[in-house]
């Protein structure tokens, strides 16, 4: 594996890496060609797009930017089937380039669900400071149940009934094995990986019926402990 500057011919490979990571994550944004182009054209990014190549194939990429006195690690993403060593190598390569112009500070904002947290904590210092947050609200509980059903049909091995107040949806075909009752915002939090299921069960904000090990296993399948992670802001 080697890390090198990105070439125009690598674009498809870069987008394929992002798409593969999105299939194994919760929260990444679907990017169209215009958004990719906007990232590539962003000011201060010249010479700061890198790819990791293994046997002629792009397996990861990184890009950063410079702004006045600061240098930013914008994004480091690698294919979920290759190890974190690729992330470490990409981050190291990017940091080397960013430091060349002697910035006063190098930084990156990451979400706790980001695979980059490990490489970052080995290369930079974690710090509080100007705290930024992502927030989400339910505006349409019926549409949320429909979204949930589409996601759970991919995750579940047996049908599950979901209940928000008087609204009911069943994910999967056939008679449901269990019913989960919860409020709409709790469902959104679980779906996006913003709330851990174990805490919601403990506090009684998620109720399972019937309460037995099989039902619990099914609900754990529905809401795995995969934390939210997003790269783009708007």
């Amino acid at each position: 594996m080697r890390v090198r500057s990105m070439r125009p011919g690598d674009r498809t490979g870069v987008q394929a890496v992002y798409a593969a990571r999105a299939r194994a994550s919760t929260g990444l944004l679907r990017r169209n060609a215009n958004r990719w182009a906007r990232h590539r054209r962003r000011k201060g990014t010249r010479g700061l797009w890198l790819v990791a190549e293994h046997r002629g194939k792009v397996v990861g990429y990184a890009w950063g930017s410079r702004d006045r006195e600061s240098a930013v690690v914008n994004e480091v993403v690698w294919h979920p089937e290759v190890g974190d060593a690729v992330g470490d190598a990409l981050l190291a390569g990017l940091l080397r380039r960013l430091r060349r112009r002697d910035p006063a500070m190098v930084f990156h904002w990451a979400m706790p669900g980001s695979p980059l947290i490990g490489p970052l904590s080995r290369a930079l210092q974690e710090q509080g400071g100007e705290a930024a947050v992502f927030m989400a609200a339910v505006v349409n509980p019926g549409a949320l149940l429909a979204d949930t059903r589409r996601i759970l049909e991919r995750r579940l091995s047996a049908p599950l009934r979901l209940r928000i107040g008087s609204r009911i949806a069943v994910a999967g075909d056939g008679p449901p094995v269990a019913t989960v009752s919860l409020e709409a915002n709790v469902l959104l939090g679980l779906l996006l990986g913003l709330r851990p299921l174990s805490a919601e069960l403990r506090w009684g904000r998620v109720r399972i019926s019937p309460r037995n090990p099989r039902s619990l296993r099914l609900v754990q399948e529905a809401f795995p402990s995969r934390r939210f992670w997003i790269q783009d802001t708007w």
Partner: protein, 256 residues
């Protein structure tokens, strides 16, 4: 009673919207308002008070991927109110209209980014934004004094654009000495701009002491600043009024 109307943005609103965005985010021209990125569909709603555009909210129609499954979201952005129309609930009214619009389009959720210490967070909590993920900041401060200089260049740009800042520029003659075990600097306000110089320069009005990490964490973070003072990780000496002004300048509390 002033007449408040919430409606979709019109092309003729560009100049008025530029004023709203300038108050909230910094200098914005009408041309910039017209030149929004076109990589995502979006709609902007405005609140007018007796015909004057006073607040705005934009919805970007985005798609989050959950295990690769697309989930549409209303990305809320550009939540802004003119200085002279704040604290009248205008942003809340525009947000309510945006949420109704998302419901009509069959979208289940709205999402946004904000600052933990910005007053706007209370509006979002009130309007139902209960699901939260914090960002974690990783950094390498290579030259803290130069970095502080950059932060204060930003404050110099911003201060004249806010009522608090204009008052500060007129009255404050503060000289703040920031001291950590490894470095120190002096921050002064001269000719409407902040200047940051290494070491101690002149007789300080306020002295801020602490370990480097705690001091740097206070920049732009009121919660951290207050907690650091309470725990004694950061100490402050100087007259009460000067300390109060320093707190607001440092933590960006004036950028409301």
């Amino acid at each position: 009673m002033p007449r408040v109307v919430v409606r979709r943005q019109r092309p003729s609103d560009a100049a008025a919207l530029a004023q709203v965005y300038t108050d909230a985010f910094g200098p914005t021209t009408a041309a910039q308002v017209r030149r929004r990125p076109k990589d995502m569909p979006y709609e902007t709603f405005v609140a007018t008070v007796d015909g004057t555009v006073a607040a705005a909210v934009t919805i970007e129609y985005l798609t989050l991927l959950v295990d690769g499954v697309p989930v549409r979201t209303g990305g809320i952005a550009g939540v802004a109110t003119r200085w002279d129309y704040r604290r009248r609930g205008l942003a809340t009214r525009v947000l309510d209209v945006c949420h109704r619009r998302l419901r009509e389009r069959g979208i289940s959720n709205a999402t946004l980014f904000t600052g933990r210490n910005l007053p706007a967070i209370r509006i979002y909590e009130r309007t139902g934004y209960s699901e939260v993920a914090d960002w974690v900041r990783f950094l390498e401060v290579r030259d803290p004094v130069r970095w502080i200089g950059e932060r204060f260049a930003y404050r110099s740009e911003w201060l004249p654009r806010t009522p608090f800042g204009r008052g500060t520029l007129r009255e404050w003659e503060g000289r703040v000495h920031v001291v950590t075990p490894r470095w120190s600097c002096t921050i002064t306000l001269e000719g409407k701009r902040f200047h940051v110089r290494p070491g101690r320069r002149g007789r300080p009005t306020v002295i801020m002491r602490g370990d480097a990490e705690a001091v740097l964490d206070c920049f732009g973070n009121r919660l951290h600043y207050d907690a650091s003072l309470r725990s004694g990780r950061v100490t402050l000496r100087g007259p009460l009024t000067a300390r109060g002004t320093w707190r607001r300048v440092l933590t960006l509390e004036w950028r409301e």
